[in-house]
Amino acid sequence: MSTPSPYAIEMLHITKRFPGIIANDDVTLQLKQGEIHALLGENGAGKSTLMSVLFGLYQPEEGEIYVKGKKVEINDPNVANELGIGMVHQHFKLVECFTVLDNIILGVETTKGGFLQKDEARKKVMALSEKYGLRVDPDAKIQDITVGMQQRTEILKMLYRDNEILIFDEPTAVLTPQEIEELMQIMKNLAAEGKSILFISHKLAEIMAVADRCSVLRKGKYIGTVETKNTTMEELSAMMVGRNVNFHVEKGEAKVGKPVLEVRNMSVASKVHKNNAVKNVSLTVHAGEIVCIAGIDGNGQTEFVYGLTGLEPLVSGSVKMLGEDITKAKIRERSLKGMSHIPEDRHKHGLVLDYSLEDNLVLQRYFEPEFTNKAGFLRRDNIRKYAEKLIAEYDIRSGQGPVTKARAMSGGNQQKAIIAREIDKGPELLVAVQPTRGLDVGAIEGVHKSLISQRDAGKAVLLVSLELDEVMDVPDRILVMYEGEIVGELDPKKTTQEELGLYMAGAKRDEVKA
């Protein structure tokens, strides 16, 4: 071909079948040189499969792939690397105990007589870092730096390998609002320098803000490609979900009842540094209200929840639930008293990945007479019935139903399973930590509805969230946490995102009484 192709990547009419399912059905994706192209779709729409095809992890049954106008056969991830395609995964692939620099050069180290030559590498990394505004500390260890900096390390890894085509797999799922902003700017810088970017996401606002064009997948089928400047969020979401989605959370007035949770002067130790991560926090959550703890990630929310749910001991302070002191209660006792906990990290705490879906759904209730008989044997038939009920009620999708291994389920459906389990327990207090993390628009709507119906049923809900939209829309009261302290109480009806941001950044603070 004499004239250079305008496309960095063309994936034409890709079809990939798995036993019982067509993951990609005649999907076409064309990424122009130097553009930011969003790939939008719900969980299970086939985005991951399409990327696995591009990286040679799967071979498509039909379809062709062109890179820069040349037809290519990608049957190995190494081939993709050689073609200059790089990916930042949703879950970072970094060595925790290595420094940023070591991680970047890992696999492509320059050596002389068997010794590492890091000086040149450092120069190249620093130059790239400066050019694209990717702030990193090359000598810090991965375990000590923020998630945002870890992601910038991943991006530098791709640039260090001179990749021209960059794929970001749901990059904002783990970031704070400020970090998201920064990432958007970085992506624009990269595109301006001629890199072609594929941005996999289901967050419409971000796609509208940063992408030039957007291709939509739904249930494995290619729906279409639109220019973002000619479309609206409503149109995109309708393309993605196949129906109109209500963005605004509908809810009535809160009917606030008696206090359910009373935390007084709680302090919790930090695992990272010597100071307390939570300092002298007091708050009250009443029946029939949703209280949200807002804040930038890493300001003590995680430790606060650990202290509240009994995963970590308190340094000082007390916790009362329904008037009873539970400061020293075991986790199981708290659960039996009516505390449910949707954990922040579903893989770490929420699921036993090698257990089947049904076994995970009874994780908090397996010991009840319904599921264990007097002799201590599991009542498998009841567990199956219960699992089938929850699967139907909460629309949990999986390959083989109740017996699917949790590991084999998509992230969104794993989250749905946890939410189903925790809400169906019938809690008096629901502690929901980032319950919509990694979920698509349709699923988020469902989770918010569940939280509000808990509230309307007279239960107390404590929501911990990093998503500004969620913080503004869902709760009845907002408490802002900054460096382990509650620095402000806001009424979501009266405040603005800007004001909230000032509290979150520590620029503004009030005395807050519980």
Binding site: T15, E61, L311, K330, K348, H349, V352, L378
Partner: protein, 377 residues
């Protein structure tokens, strides 16, 4: 056919068989290197074990011996796999087995207690040794492999010291249980007569099978097993769900230890073997238990079969012609085969890869056919 191949149980079985064949093959090659003329006969002897004998009576008698020694091996492999399911690697099984020997023999020879008391003390001894590792793991975060290995040595020398009190005056071996305290012998239930009056065969053979089934039921069917496997799968999630994960670690290692200790009583209370009070390493039974557990696909029922097989070839090694090969050859060949047994999970992985690849190809072919068919129409 494909469906059968994809079944997990079938895969485990196939992988085990492949490992066994590979082990035999490598053993054969080693024999060829040392002395080609006798290699064929030697490997045949290993495989044949008690079948070497022509007379049916002799065959039965030596089959009985193999069974007597397979029973404690079943217990050791159950000990390993039980803790393995909970995410713990109980390499201390060897020491727990050893403390079982010390307890059962001391109770029998010095105190002349009845067999069931001796057995109970051996079980408690093993449980105690296991729970030391468990306590250290749960409360001090000491790796159970390290504490297990260290305990193995302490227990070994403790056993030598204790049993020196009940050894023969003229040899390093302990007195025979059969002659010293008949009440301490395990009941034979009259099983010996099926094995040409082999006086060692008895309750232990049946007990080993029954206990394997119980272990399987506990792990797979009970609330306790559900908790243990959850702790093994993800201890953070187990803690989050309010399971007492520290208690579970201790209880698991205590049960593992009890199983190994019971295994020791099952062998030594038959009077089949005496303890050598100048032994300088823990008995290999506990370590062979690791191979048996993996060869059995970490399934209690599989452990019965794999333990029998491993004991079978270990005993078979004794029949290799010592005029051609040196005395150590029998141990060498059986340990090569046992070593290969550890590769079961690697084999399974390779098999699954192959199946996936074939499926991919079949899918492609099918799609192609469909596309061509479409064009014709």
């Amino acid at each position: 056919m494909k469906k059968i191949l994809k079944n997990d149980g079938v895969q485990s079985l196939l992988a085990s068989l492949i490992c066994i064949l590979l082990g035999l093959l490598i053993g054969y090659v080693v024999l060829l290197f040392i002395e080609p003329s006798g290699a064929g006969e030697a490997i045949k002897a290993v495989i044949k074990n008690f079948l070497t004998y022509n007379k049916k009576e002799s065959q039965l008698k030596y089959l009985g011996n193999t069974l007597v020694k397979a029973a404690p091996l079943v217990m050791c492999s159950l000990s390993i796999l039980f803790s393995y399911k909970v995410g713990l690697f109980n390499i201390g099984a060897a020491g727990q087995y050893c403390i079982g020997i010390a307890c059962s023999l001391y109770c029998a020879l010095a105190l002349k207690l009845p067999w069931w008391v001796c057995t109970l003390v051996a079980v408690l001894g093993g449980a105690l040794a296991g729970s030391i590792s468990g306590l250290l793991k749960a409360y001090c975060n000491v790796n159970e492999v390290i504490s297990g290995i260290m305990l193995n040595w302490i227990i070994l020398y403790g056993t030598n010291m204790l049993l020196t009190n009940v050894k023969e005056a003229t040899s390093p071996y302990t007195k025979e249980v059969a002659r010293t305290s008949a009440a301490s012998l395990l009941p034979t239930l009259g099983l010996g007569k099926f094995f040409n009056n082999n006086k060692y065969v008895g309750v232990s053979v049946i007990a080993a099978v029954v206990i394997a089934v119980i272990v399987w039921v506990v792990l797979e069917k009970t609330r306790f097993g559900y908790e243990l496997r959850a702790t093994g799968g993800n201890k953070n999630a187990a803690k989050y769900a309010g399971m007492a994960e520290k208690r579970n670690i201790i209880v698991t290692l205590a049960i593992s230890g009890a199983l190994a200790g019971l295994g020791a009583a099952m062998l030594y209370l038959t009077s089949y073997e005496q303890w050598n009070c100048s032994t300088s390493s823990v008995p290999g039974m506990g370590f062979n238990g690791i191979a048996a557990a993996f060869l059995g696909g970490l399934n209690p029922i599989g452990a019965i079969l794999s333990s029998f097989f491993i004991q079978h070839i270990t005993a078979g090694g004794a029949y290799v012609d010592k005029k051609i090969y040196c005395a150590q050859i029998s141990d060498l060949i059986s340990s090569i085969i046992i070593y290969l047994c550890g590769f079961v999970f690697f084999m399974k992985l390779m098999m699954n890869k192959r199946i996936a690849k074939q499926e991919e190809r079949a899918q492609k072919a099918l799609a192609k056919k469909a596309a061509e068919g479409g064009k014709e129409q």
